[in-house]
Amino acid sequence: MAVETALPQIKGVKDVPYEELFVSGHRTCQGCESALVMRHMVKASGPRTIVLGSTGCMYVANTTYYTTPWVVPWMHTQLGASGSAALGTAAGLKVLMRKGKLKNEKINVIAFCGDGGGADMGLGAISATLTHKDYNCLVLLYDNESYANTDIQLSSMTPYGAVTTFSPSGEKKRLMHTRWKKNVPGMLAAGHPESRYIAAGCAAYAVDLMNKIRKALELGGPTFVHTLDPCPKGWDYHPQYSQELGHLAVECGIWPLYEVIDGMCNLTGPTRQIAEGRKKRKPVIEYLRRQGRFAHFADEDIEHFQAEVDKMWTDWLIPGVIPFTIPAKDQNILKIDKKPLHESKPA
């Protein structure tokens, strides 16, 4: 029987562990929130962890060149392979322990990917992994809203209208990118009911994020956490404001914080306060005007952005999480008698 290493919920900032498993000396930008996510991620998981890192800033920047900031064992994987890396690593450890070829113990497996590698190329592999309930692993998607490592190109996570090198603003086209950001954590939660834990977090809410990672690792099975990481290089703002922009993204209702845990959806942090009416959503212009990637926005662009964010809150079944809803005339579907057709057998 494996001895479980408990990862208790962190009570507050004073309860955050001191141990550093992702240390100074990585070639990330000043103010890189993705690097902070890496630091918090392994702080939360502790040293009995194997990290697989797919190509992107958190690979290239961290290890440029032929070096490492990682104290825990770390291995590179391919851009779209985080799901597979998590699955293969977890399966390998499981069978080796079962066969007695490795000491039986809890080893956390975390595979991370950026928004490019996770929401675009590797989404299929992540989806597959989330259906494998026999394997314990966490896929962490760090979202800086672009293919940042290749010098900022748009991905399916890039917000509406944002400037990237694939979507410059020019005389003929003010906005080249008019796609709305895909709802990845909600999509994965809705589509993979066997995954016990799927969450959205942000390093501006460090304790919330670390606790989400710990829950994912403690519950077991395949899990997923998606973080929004302000990126001073791609978003064009002074690095000192990285934390502030994370707060604004949440306070404007653009990036809801939540978790779906064993089929239950909990909103967390300011998102919960907004949903409960205790906090008012800030207008998105407060967030947009702080970033050079939106400097070209006309009034109508800001209005459209606000309207889409409003929809997440006014029209969605679960605000910020599940986009579709039920016609007013069918609302009684929500009141269906929940008695199962077959009685579950007594223990």
Partner: protein, 410 residues
Amino acid sequence: MAIETKSRESSEVETEVLATGCEAIAEAIRLADVDVMAAYPIRPYDGVMQAAAKLIANGKMDVEYIVADGEHSQFEIVKHACAVGSRVFVGSSGVGWFYAFEAIAVTAGLRLPVVAICGNRALDDPGAFGTEHNDSLAVRDLGWLLPWAETAQEALDLALMAWRIGEDKRVSLPVAIGLDGAFLTHSQHIVKIPSQAAVNKFLPKFDLGDRLLHPDNPITIAPQVDQDWLMEIRRQNDNAMRQALTVIREAHADYKRIFGRGGDNPFLDEYMTEDAEVVVIGQGTLSLPMKVAIRRLRKEGHKIGLVRLKWFRPFPTEEIVKSLTRFKAVGVIDRDYSFGSPFYGGVLYNEIRSALYSQAKRPVIVGFVAGLGGREIEQNMATEIFEKTEAAAKGGPSAGDVCHWIGVRE
């Protein structure tokens, strides 16, 4: 139906079965105590995955069997399982193999001894299930060991050797066994399945040593590099491939000693070459109709023979030179194509010519492309191949500067 055959030691019983090359390899997976395998359907290799699934469901072996969402994922899954110390198995064919190409490239770069079969299949477009070797050959520069099997028996034998050779610390490179689609993947032959006791003597446990990815061994694997580092890393892989020749020889000798199979030469299988003036050379099952032709044509007085190449990578240059310089002409039969190459020859043709280039005494080397898309090599084609090779022997040094397409309708 299994027939038991006792070998010298009563505890080491070989079992005789009627099995396809794929099914034979499934037995090798069982005997090797593979830990993780990843499956994805594509013909004709996936018979091995179906056979393995049956063994697992019936409790004959304990392997983590993961059905992937695509070949790229499939090969990534086993690569990472290997990195944490699992013995692994994977495979694909044709364009499926190509879908995994990124993973295939990095697996060799990482020096991870993944063992795969490539159920050789023609590449799309158009779709075709028949055998061609271009899928395997496409990775020939990357550091994968590439042997080809002639029979289902050899497929099993090569599989067991693959784990032994690939996992040897001097090599630590992945191995892809070429298995001709249909003829080997789907046809049943009599195969002797060795005993577990015998296999245990041949195949040590997989041990990554200080490269194991585990919290007790803190390492970072594959940090980003630039021009200041990559050449040294490539040189290490070059060195490993050089070492592979030695390791293959050792494994072959051991295999012969324990199982009594493998032929005289680890790299080449020679047939009626002792007094031959002219030979053909190729890899895989094309040797079989060629052997039939040799026996037939010898009755008419032709002094001909066959050299079957067993290992394409590492290329056994020394053995090839030693063998082929004995002959007046060599007809290279490529079950592959290399459009636009020198003399429009196939891959094997140009590699063999390169190996022999500096020899003072060289045979005329003429090229043939045959059997593409799984087209059978019929006896009239075999005859044509020998006739053209014999003609080349009389034709002077440049008589080989040509590639003949055999059995194609004009």
